[in-house]
Amino acid sequence: MEAGDRTVLQFSTQSTANLSAKVHPLVVFNICDCYVRRPDQAERVIGTLLGSVLSDGTVDIRNSYAVPHTESAEQVALDIEYHHNMLVSHQKVNPKEVIVGWYSTGLGVTGGSALIHDFYSREVPNPVHLTVDTGFRNGEGTIKAYVSVNLALGDRQLAAQFQEIPLDLRMVEAERVGFDILKTTSVDKMPTDLEGMEVTMQRLLALIDDIYKYVDDVVEGRVAADNSIGRFISDTVAALPKLSPPAFDKLVNDSLQDQLLLLYLSSITRTQLGLAEKLNTAAQIL
């Protein structure tokens, strides 16, 4: 850009300044599954993203489905009717999920993507484009999200640029519980609730150990003390309620007794069931 020229290349960044996207892991699973199942001649998979736009402008991506497409060097053809059919079907189940963008596998954005992005921007005002690198080209699986930004020179539209927006991966509590199962390629049996407790408690123990080590290091001068961390630690320790030992013991014992009572009740019920069963079917009619 010449310094003397009045017209400058404008980036309309107002709309994208605070735009970010949140992706549920289900979407990643879906995309990977579609990629594994793609027809042989296709190099990548393209599909639609469903979700909603939250009140603060972030895009919440919750679901996705693949759309068959054909791609050659010059052109890209998308099966629009399929796309609409799937959309209608999905909306029958969840009318709140609308199109928020589209995804494609493979790193980077190609020329064909601009055309597809154009198509999607006709459906939705500001679609988000998600790329999932299934080829692991950078040595890791990168997931990026882009929005299209218009480049204008004065009044003339020059081109559209894909600008990256921050991406956030959320996981709901229930999913987090099962996350360990989802990580490996196969799990032989589902963990029982006691095993789950064990894992959680071990993690808590590991955390406490870390903190211990850190405090020891600081005291012995091995690590520079950080005041904010120190404050956090003291806050946490102070969060334990200050009850006198007898009062606390009484609390704990009361809860223990309640639980024991419930256990006893349920055992009685089961014994009763066993008895009733025997009586019912064993009764002989003359």
Binding site: P25, L26, V28, F29, C32, D33, C34, Y35, R37, R38, Y65, A66, Y82, S89, K92, V93, N94, F136, G141, I143, V172, E173, A174, E175, R176, V177, F179, L182, K183, T185, S186, V187, M190, P191, D193, L194, G196, M197, T200, M201, R203, L204, L240, F248, V252, S255, L256, Q259, L260, L263, L265, S266, T269, R270, L273, A276, N280, T281, I285, L286
Partner: protein, 338 residues
């Protein structure tokens, strides 16, 4: 199968029945689990259902994909709509190379109260068309307590035969030695994931334990959950006692009928003696047209079995949660002591 049957004629092979290997394990993909969790959670506390798709391989039933059903109104035209939706989804999924084979369905439940007659009916319907189907039950309320409450169920074969014959009398049950635990068979679940997905997941998971917190499991208040469980349990006990009263009523009327039959028989015999003395033909000792000989139908035990199953389920759940609470309480205690 094909290799060993080369010596037999085609007719022979077609005539011999295949030995169906018993279903030992249900292999679910992580994708399906996430989809089920998401669907059930979004609509909780309403109950939702969906279809499972996959492959039936030997003694393993693989579930590779699923799709949810829209909430159905009880209306005629929407019934046809539902069938259309299903066909449409199956067709679309086939185009992207998803297994097009229905292997069962999933449904959500509240606190484990899923044993109803409708479940059995649905099972029978599915069993007509598909050789092996499972039902996956997911409990979102229990998952909030920190357990992945996913179960794969199947009706046991002996129960299915009895149900088809529609005979649930006490004798038949004793014959087959069928008790209430035998209705549903729970099949162990195995989770599998493609290598790509596990690579991504390991990648996305942050390494520090700090952000891995699932400390909701360590929450101390399990009281509301236990209370609801107990409420359900009490209601079920009421239902069970009602069923048992029905049985008692049946027994009483049966014994009353038998007493009536005896008196009638005595009267007949006395008459016959009198007739013999008078030289006439004796009357038959049985009279099928007399109403006191009409057999009283025995009430079906299906309901009571189901209720019993449900109660056992609640008891198990209470036990589980109580165990967890013990752990938490002791943890608190030791924290405080330090």
């Amino acid at each position: 199968m094909a290799a060993s049957s080369t010596a037999r004629s085609f007719l022979q092979v077609a005539a011999t029945e295949e030995v169906i290997s018993p279903l030992r394990v249900v292999q679910i993909e992580g994708l399906v689990i996430l989809k089920i969790i998401k669907h059930c959670k979004e609509f909780s506390p309403a109950l939702v259902t969906g279809q499972l798709l996959g492959l039936d391989v030997g003694s393993v039933l693989e579930v590779t994909n699923c799709f949810p059903f829209p909430i159905r109104e009880e209306d005629e035209e929407i019934e046809a709509d539902g069938a259309n939706y299903q066909l449409e989804m199956m067709r679309c999924l086939r185009e992207v190379n998803v297994d097009n084979n229905t292997v069962g369905w999933y449904q959500s439940t509240i606190l484990g109260s899923y044993q109803t007659v409708e479940l059995i009916e649905t099972f029978m319907n599915y069993q007509e068309n598909i050789r092996r189907c499972v039902c996956i039950i997911y409990d979102p309320s229990r998952s909030n307590q920190g357990v992945l409450a996913l179960k794969a169920l199947k009706l046991s074969d002996s129960f299915m035969e009895l149900y088809r014959a529609n005979s649930f009398t006490g004798e038949k049950l004793r014959e087959k030695n069928l008790s209430w635990v035998d209705i549903f068979e729970e099949i162990p679940i195995k989770v599998s994931n493609s290598a790509l997905i596990s690579a991504f997941m390991t990648e996305l998971e942050s390494d520090t334990p700090v952000t891995q917190c699932d400390y909701d499991r360590l929450q101390l208040s399990s009281n509301p959950y236990m209370e609801r469980n107990m409420e359900f349990l009490i209601e079920c006990m009421d239902d069970l006692s009602m069923e048992q009263q029905k049985f008692q009523f049946h027994y009483r009327s049966l014994s009353r009928q038998q007493a009536q039959q005896q008196t009638w028989l005595q009267k007949r015999r006395a008459e016959n003696m009198a007739r013999k003395a008078a030289g006439e033909d004796p009357l038959p000792e049985e009279d099928p047209t007399n109403p006191i000989f009409k057999p009283i139908p025995e009430p079906s035990r299906v309901e009571s079995f189901l209720i019993t199953n449900q109660i056992a389920n609640y008891c198990n759940q209470i036990n589980g949660v109580a165990g967890q609470s013990f752990n938490r309480l002791y943890l608190m205690k030791s924290l405080h002591d330090n």
